[in-house]
Symmetry: C2
Subunit: 264 residues, 2 copies
Amino acid sequence: MSRTALPQTPAEARALIRSGAWTGPTSGLAMGYVQANLVIVPEDYAFDFLRFCVRNPKPCPLLEVTEPGSPEPVNVAPGADLRTDLPRYRVFRHGEVIDEPTDISAYWRPDLVAFLLGCSFTFEAALIRAGVPVRHIECGCTVSMFITNRECRPAGAFAGPLVVSMRPIPAGEVARAVQITAQYPLAHGAPVHIGDPVSLGIADIGRPDFGDPVEVRPGEVPVFWACGVTPQLALARAKPDLAITHYPAHMFITDLPDEAIRAF
Amino acid sequence: MSRTALPQTPAEARALIRSGAWTGPTSGLAMGYVQANLVIVPEDYAFDFLRFCVRNPKPCPLLEVTEPGSPEPVNVAPGADLRTDLPRYRVFRHGEVIDEPTDISAYWRPDLVAFLLGCSFTFEAALIRAGVPVRHIECGCTVSMFITNRECRPAGAFAGPLVVSMRPIPAGEVARAVQITAQYPLAHGAPVHIGDPVSLGIADIGRPDFGDPVEVRPGEVPVFWACGVTPQLALARAKPDLAITHYPAHMFITDLPDEAIRAF
């Protein structure tokens, strides 16, 4: 499919995905609309996981929680179906990946609860609009992610370290990067840490725990934002009998324009 | 107790309350610190109520949710005890008030979950600091509150109308009142409605559903903020076997300075 034929609206993008014609990453689809991480757990775990999100809003910014058994995110995309409208999923049994399907209808149960969490696409787009360079996008690689020495606030079965993403920002642009990303608390918001990787427990900025190494050049400062991998690690620790997430970079596309979640 | 002897810190205020020496309203105690509404429900209702709060953040801004069975709000006031540290409570059985004690230790159960929700004290203090008049405080009466024609987003057993508080603001100060209160999303945030009471379903601005009538003078606009009575109505509709709230105006005093919950 050529670039010019990419769907422009969230509904068009979700229809394309639901039809099975699009199974790739969602970056570039329906530009300007909020995309979301997906976490699905049984109701027995859902109150714990919701408390975990509420207590750790920077890594887990809640866009929506569905009613138990309902795959429809009635607030952010009424009419959508979370079982079919993401290009690819990961299915976990007791913390182990057992499948990476493009449709989870066969796994759906009446006790499942879905959580949609904001992701960094929204603030990265805002940085780029403001002329702040975002290195990993320029390079066409994945952002560097690191497991830190900071523990999240636990909730029931869910606990684990804060995971951060790192973007090198020119020293003269760091304050502006803070001001811009702070406007989007539902997309991880302002950085959690600026400079000094060692005090976050990061021994080697060139060796990320996830994603690709991204060069920090002279005159640049490593800036760290809370990352959506954080709840995935907490989920792996809680080991529910069944859990389903989006496949990395294969997100749910909401009907919310990026500006709709701008806090100020 | 004379005004000069009022406790200045949250810990001092809570100790005074816990000792039984203070059973009155908390306005004026530990000025400059965030005070909170309290809602306690059994764990069977807690996931529903937490979804209700997450879906309706303006009337129900979440400061903390406790672990089931724990009366300690570990994030906003570590060491405090929600069973003893409010001056007065309301105890409900199946939606009916059965007691208004100054201590709820006798009602505590291992399945209870406590929710602390931000209240308007924080933004009212900010308005006053900025020189925006707050009529009901000047008059020494209770803010006017109205049941609106807007439904909250429901969650499980919890549903009901949005309740708003109304403050008359000089027309030239309304924009500034918006800007100031928007900075405190955990204290109800920006107004939900400005002017035109009729389209909110308010037939007579002089006859509030709760609180005292407050005059709207020529040159003033009625400005409406989401109100913490909203979750109380939803609770009355859900009718859990046991629920406990603060007694009106008898709030929980957190360790958070007002500025700590300022979003920007």
